[in-house]
């Protein structure tokens, strides 16, 4: 669906750094067309940290890969999608121009620091490689920048560590190396796809602290992709919640935590463990994300939603403006009194 009439979620000042409009990424599989990302629009401002949140399979990682045009066949970014960045539409530029964007203007931090590093090269080599790919100076110079970058991401005795192989470093150190690779060209935007998921909790906090610190020092925009609202709360200023390949809610982090509108966001918040609520069973959202080849009719969340009524089954909700910078894809915005009539979601009734 076209999103030309999309309500403004950002209290937009000037033109944002990244502007995604109606992004649709489909996978043409044997089981049908998987509409993994289906009409996603959002902005990331310069120097802003934005969280992209959702369960596995909601399309957040595919969105990230789409931004860098790293979708492989049978996946395809559909015509009409727009990714405006640096005043250009990344969908239309040629491959060599896109390569110049990757790593230099938009960089990506991957989830698994174990596997995101090549086992047969030293970490210094791998960071220097990024510099050399972008043709920035000679071998010596690239190595010096790699060492300096290791220092920037808080690795002690960087000149020695640069000669280490990935397996010689701890998980947290490796993730610092991956971050150093992403930041060495001083990109305008860093996409961090679950950067802390594979790490111990204490290390998670350190890495988030590092990201926050680097963002403030270097002025880099960060798109933080995660399923963990706890991570979001500590790190970002604005949150985009995805479900079923769509944006279902977008709000500032304070607004989202104090006044979430969409029932899915509500469910995610209720599923978070909280300090002070002892020995209580965590709430869950019944059912699972439906396969992207067959989204349900109407609202894609309706069979898992405790408020769903006939309208939710028949009519796909648009993004409603809830407040300043707050949008939600839920008919409750039109009929708020329905929120009082919570019931068992259809999903639990269907499968007792």
């Amino acid at each position: 669906m076209a999103e030309s009439s999309r309500p403004a979620a950002t209290a937009a000042s000037s033109a944002p750094l990244l502007s995604v409009r109606d992004l649709r990424t489909y996978f043409y599989t044997e089981n049908g067309v998987a509409k993994s990302v289906n009409g996603v629009s959002f902005d990331v401002g310069a120097g802003e940290t934005v969280g992209l949140v959702g369960e596995s399979g909601c399309g957040k990682s595919v969105t990230a890969l789409s931004l860098l045009r790293l979708i492989r066949p049978p996946g395809r970014i559909e015509a009409g999608s727009k990714i405006l960045f640096d005043g250009r539409d990344l969908i239309t530029i040629d491959e060599s121009a896109m390569r110049a964007v990757r790593g230099a203007r938009i960089a990506m931090v991957f989830q698994e620091p174990m596997t995101a590093l090549n086992p047969v090269f030293t970490v210094g080599d791998q960071i220097a490689e990024v510099v050399r790919v972008h043709g920035d100076g000679g071998r010596r110079d690239a190595w010096d920048r790699a060492v300096k970058m290791l220092e920037t991401v808080g690795i002690a005795s960087p000149a020695q560590r640069a000669n280490d192989y990935p397996h010689q470093l701890s998980g947290g150190m490796r993730q610092r190396v991956v971050i150093a690779m992403a930041l060495v060209m001083n990109p305008a935007l860093v996409i961090a796809d679950e950067p802390t998921t594979a790490l111990d909790v204490t290390i998670q906090a350190q890495i988030l602290e590092l990201l926050r610190d680097l963002q403030q020092r270097l002025g880099t925009s960060i798109l933080l992709i995660t399923h963990d609202l706890g991570v979001v709360a500590e790190t970002v200023s604005r949150v985009i919640v995805m479900y079923g390949g769509e944006v279902v809610e977008e709000a500032s982090v304070n607004e989202l935590f104090s006044a979430a509108h969409h029932p899915y966001t509500e469910g995610l918040l209720n599923a978070m463990p909280r300090v002070g609520h002892e020995r209580e069973r965590l709430a869950t959202i019944p059912g699972t994300v439906p396969p992207p080849t067959s989204w349900p009719s109407g609202c894609r969340f309706h069979d898992r939603c405790p408020y769903a009524w006939e309208r939710c089954v028949s009519e796909h909700p648009p993004l409603y403006q809830i407040g300043a910078g707050h949008i939600s894809r839920c008919h409750l915005a039109a009929e708020p009194e329905r929120r009082l009539k919570a019931h068992e979601p259809f999903a639990t009734k269907a499968s007792p």
């Binding site: 990682s61 860098l68 790293l70 066949p73 390569r99 110049a100 964007v101 990757r102 790593g103 230099a104 960089a107 990506m108 991957f110 989830q111 698994e112 174990m114 596997t115 995101a116 590093l117 090549n118 086992p119 047969v120 090269f121 030293t122 490689e129 990024v130 790919v133 972008h134 000669n163 192989y165 990935p166 397996h167 010689q168 991956v178 690779m181 992403a182």
Partner: protein, 300 residues
């Protein structure tokens, strides 16, 4: 030399089997290269056709002499040149073709891969020895370069299959995607990330391939279509001795032994290298924590 290469070499050296098989192979190559200085006689010199023919091994002629009074030791030493260079160069050619074919098929994938693999299946259905016999029967006399070319272009199928499989498993590892995400071109990724990670199995296959080609070349020479005078290989010498195996057994025995020892050494070295160069045993080849499974975890 990088630290990982050094580490791999020291691990190779720590295994007894690789030490002795490696020593034999290095020794054979040295003998072949310096044949002129090592061999007591010229391989084609007829020393004395009346008095010195068909002599049994003795102090003067440790491997004896043949029907033309040539010194068999010298012939075997010079034969090493032919046998080893034919094997090494044709395997080099085969490995290059096979790696290129396998990398293209495995990396590009999809329809290109399917088509290339169908072509390979068709090629594999042609028996190699029969094909070589047919071509060599028509192409006479074949020079050494021709022999190397023929053995090379018929010997890459296995390597390309192996390389394709390795590439397909390496291709989707996260560091390949990460390299793309940081702006590397496909060519750069193949060169810098893919090939170093699949070099181990290729080296193993090439080592075992040398043993295979030595036997094959000896067989062809024995059938009279391989290397021939004055470029006598071990197979050629063996053929000349096999006409009278009971009277002059030494003419066939010593080149035969040379073949056996060389093939054994290459096979032992190849097997040992397979243990050492297994990517799962390279430092961090597969994440150390990932001990439960031998396949790369797919994340996404």
């Amino acid at each position: 030399m990088t630290a990982s290469t050094r580490a791999a070499l020291s691990r190779i050296w720590s295994i007894r089997a690789t030490r002795w098989s490696g020593a034999i192979i290095v020794g054979l190559f040295l003998v072949a290269i310096f044949a002129k200085y090592v061999a007591p006689y010229s391989p084609s010199a007829q020393l004395d056709i009346v008095h010195l023919k068909n002599l049994a091994p003795s102090h003067a002629h440790p491997f004896g002499t043949d029907a033309y009074s040539r010194d068999v030791l010298s012939r075997v030493i010079f034969g090493a040149r032919i046998s080893l260079s034919v094997a090494a160069l044709s395997v080099l050619l085969a490995t290059t073709i096979g790696s290129a074919y396998g990398v293209v098929a495995g990396y590009v994938g999809g329809r290109v891969d399917a088509t290339m693999m169908h072509i390979l299946d068709a090629l594999l259905s042609i028996p190699r020895v029969l094909l070589l016999l047919a071509v060599l029967a028509l192409w006479q006399p074949v020079g050494l370069a021709g022999l190397i070319l023929l053995l090379g272009v018929t010997g890459w199928y296995g390597t390309s299959r192996l390389v394709r499989a390795e590439v397909r498993s390496a291709r989707d590892r996260e560091y390949m995607v990460a390299a793309r995400a940081l702006g590397a071109s496909h060519w750069r990724i193949v060169r810098r990330h893919l090939l170093p990670n699949i070099a181990g199995p290729i080296i193993v296959a090439a080592t075992l391939g040398v043993a295979n080609v030595i036997v094959l070349e000896a067989g062809l020479s024995f059938l009279g279509v391989g290397a021939r005078e004055p470029n006598a290989s071990w197979g050629t010498i063996f053929l000349s001795g096999s006409s009278a195996p009971t009277d002059t057994w030494w003419v066939a025995l010593f080149p035969g032994l040379a073949i056996v020892v060389t093939v054994l050494a290459f096979n032992v070295l190849g097997d040992a290298l397979r243990d050492v160069l297994d990517p799962r045993q390279l430092p961090g080849g597969i994440p150390a924590s990932d001990t439960t499974t031998h396949t790369q975890p797919r994340t996404g």
